[in-house]
């Protein structure tokens, strides 16, 4: 005989009583009578959808610890962590190699509590940790192109395979370009091209690409927004923004160009960590196979630093270890790091600030070239960097521009930087004159 469900009165009294008036006065259930979890304080700049999932998984794996997250962008994290007690922080976990290196110099870290021999130290030319063993990568990300294949197909344009393809004048206005001096993830992209093609040719290529670009002043999803809205067909990006958008339903693809590089995101334990055992547990969790597999979540989509974490992922999943074994990923991020602020500033002065003036000059040159009138001097002038590579590598210059990328003194260019802008302006003026003389 079936007895239809009727809420039991006794159960109601029990349930309502439990809910309406709390049990605090009468103490905790036996399951919770053990000691409270110890706090592990983690400073990070990761987005909450990443942090929350790691938090839940870590606390499940290590119920004796509870995560307290202190969210700070790298420019804010550095002074916070440099306090004598590190602001109570046990761990710094962030995608800012510059900050880890800087704080290592300031003796902020203790030796990492991990078996460093068990993890790879390098992918391609990217070092995954520092030589002294103070910090190591907990995930990596690659640079490349977000593309809308239909938008390119409609225009009869091929999919780009490398940076040189982005200079095609048919892409005019169709490339979303995150401004390196403004968007945190973008500076290494400048250096990837410079390392791949050399100083002169690299800047010339950037100039021609910039002439096709719509500058994007903010990062995150703004590049993919431009493509999703149909305003652009290609966006320069770091992979996880795009791959996460794809996993969430965006009709995009991500292409790793032939010349690309990786950005390692690190983790370190503070020298005076109040909970070094908890800090070690968190670091080891993140680096474990289970922790690394969480990186495949649709809202995270970072690349694991453990080769074994790629097992079981779809075969078309980009595997940087496999790419490196085939000779790819030759970008040396450590070598590029000291110059990132300088090259981002050069990019700003030479390409971004005068973009409205630069773009039509490239259009006129390209039109002349298509009409069979090559103007090599104009091409040279439009692509010439204001300084040579030796000058750009001057450590004094790096110190002067220094922390620009970390958000300090963002709006005050030095006289030197302003001079770069003037040099670029003279080059444009000369190029315009030559174009006028050629009737182009």
């Amino acid at each position: 005989m079936n007895i239809p469900f009727k809420p039991g009165r006794r159960r109601f009294i029990q349930g309502a009583g439990l809910l309406g008036l709390n049990l605090a006065a009468s103490g905790m259930p036996g399951a919770l009578a053990k000691s409270a979890p110890q706090t592990v304080t983690v400073v990070t700049s990761y987005a909450d959808e990443f942090v929350s999932r790691i938090e839940a998984a870590f606390e499940k794996a290590y119920p004796q610890y509870r995560l307290r997250v202190v969210w700070r962008m790298p420019n804010d994290a550095a002074p916070y962590l440099q306090q004598p007690d590190h602001g109570g922080a046990d761990v710094y976990w962030s995608a800012s190699p510059r900050t880890f290196a800087r704080l290592a110099r300031d003796n902020t870290w203790r030796k990492l509590p991990i078996d460093s021999g068990a993890l790879p130290r390098q992918v391609g030319k990217t070092e995954l940790g520092d030589a002294a063993g103070f910090y190591t990568a907990s995930e990596i990300a690659g640079f490349g192109f977000a593309v809308s294949p239909p938008a390119l197909t409609q225009r009869g344009l091929p999919l780009p395979a490398d940076w040189t393809d982005l200079s095609d004048p048919r892409l005019a206005g169709l490339i979303a370009l995150p401004v390196p001096a403004r968007v945190g993830f973008a500076p290494p992209m400048v250096e990837i091209v410079l390392q791949a093609y050399g100083w002169q040719r690299g800047w010339a290529l950037w100039s021609e690409i910039a002439a096709n670009a719509k500058p994007i002043e903010r990062g995150s999803t703004f590049v993919t927004d431009e493509i999703a809205a149909g305003r652009c067909a290609i966006g320069l990006s770091i992979d996880f923004f795009v791959n996460s958008a794809i996993a969430n339903g965006a009709a995009l693809s991500f292409i790793y160009p032939r010349h690309t590089g990786l950005n390692p995101a690190h983790i370190a334990v503070t020298r005076n960590s109040p909970n070094p055992e908890g800090a070690a547990a968190f670091v080891n969790f993140l680096l474990s196979l289970n922790g690394q597999k969480l990186l495949a979540h649709p809202d995270i989509r970072r690349l694991p630093i453990r080769p074994d974490a790629y097992a079981g992922l779809p075969t078309r999943q980009f595997n940087p270890f496999a790419a490196a074994a085939e000779g790819g990923l030759q970008f040396d991020s450590d070598a590029a790091r000291p110059r990132l602020a300088t090259s981002a500033s050069l990019f700003q002065q030479m390409l971004i600030e005068p973009l409205a003036e630069l773009t039509p000059l490239w259009r006129r040159l390209q039109a002349a070239e298509q009409a069979g009138k090559p103007l090599p001097e104009v091409r040279r002038l439009l692509g010439a960097p204001p300084i040579d590579e030796a000058a750009a590598n001057d450590p004094a210059l790096h110190r002067a521009i220094g922390l620009r990328l970390e958000g300090e003194n963002p709006a005050i260019p030095t006289p030197q930087e302003l001079a770069w802008g003037e040099t670029a302006a003279r080059n444009r003026h000369a190029a315009r004159k030559l174009l006028d003389e050629a009737g182009a």
Binding site: P4, A61, W71, S253, I255, A296
Partner: protein
Amino acid sequence: MKLKPTLSRLSRLAAFGALFAHFVHAPAGHAAETPAVIDREVLSRPLPGLSAEEEERFRRGRSLFRQSWVIAPANDVAVDGLGPLYNRLACISCHAKNGRGGAPDKPEERMQSMLVRLSLPGRNAQGGPLPHPAYGDQLNEEGIPGVPGEGRAHLHWHHKQARLADGTTVTLRWPSLSFSELAYGKLGKTLTSLRVSPHVAGLGLLDAVEEKTLLALAAEKKPDGVRGTVNLVYDKATGQPAVGRFGLKSNMPNLRQQIAGAFVGDMGITSPLFAQENCTAAQTACAAAPHGGQPELSATQLDEISFYLANLAPPPRRASDSPQVRQGEAHFAELGCATCHRPQLISGEVAGNPRLSRQSFAPYTDLLLHDMGPQLADGRPDHRANGRQWRTAPLWGLGVLTAINEQRGLLHDGRARTAEEAILWHGGEAETARRRYIKADRTQRAALLAFLQSL
């Protein structure tokens, strides 16, 4: 160091990730075909027709909604002022992908997207709940370094079987609540109420329904003993009483106040509407902690985040032409569900926003308070809402939540893991509709659930 396995968690995530089996990339020069099976941005899109300027404003609001807030003092002065006491760092902590939160499965797991309201018997000066003298009106589990969090709340699940007329059994669960690590003394005999965060799409349209429409809905004669009343709450901007419509007991009069209330209550961020930090007299470290400006969320920021949430498009219907879904829609009306979960509301005029003005839309709510019976009662009055009344939950978006949120729980405390469980918990004014569901045959129930899944 040995690592404890997190296999169950990982397998859940893996299963979740399998919905989106497109973690693929193209080699150089080749595009992968990468459409996701389910669009997880479905609750994150703007209403159509935003101008370029409005789109930019929408994005600024979106950035704030996604922002993790920073402890003051900080260089990021625009986004500092977290806490000193708080629940989570960001709006999206509780509304991941703009979706719904859920309840923890085990007592020792933290509440990542739900909270506990607290009060003493009685009313405050505006007729709302009387805050606890030491803990305020909400348990803030977290504190910035140097400020102890208020304590920890733990959910304990109890289970029972419900049997439907055809013999089908459904396992129901309900929570009891306990606290630990209380940092500011005993709670004593405190009224408590659990809240799982709802999804946030379509809120602008709900905000645009005129008060007179809600009053008219409340005055309508309804079948099956259904009544429905408005809550009368306090509008902080005007200083006047107003009809409530947001919050699970309709205790907020409009979207702007709802947002500002969540900022101060959940993240400890003051705003022009809530200028005081959420520190009680007993919380001296809280009161002494640095703040992030006065207010911490500027009027402009509040405007931008309000614009963002007001202009989020409602969840689109799916499979509405399916015969089963159409049949389920008919059953939804026949069973009496649509009496409260109204399929149509009409918005009033919203100055400067034709997208929200005079729109007919289908939220499947009447925004009214209804007695939901003793099983769902929290025993905690809130303005005119008594301890058995809840606002009719909007059902739009119900069918997309599974794809968006791993941790999902329906009803105010997340007890219902499925729509069917939620139906079976209905009582009070919804008792007749629940009984009809129990008596419905398997085909009818499947059709009804398919309809709900299409919303």
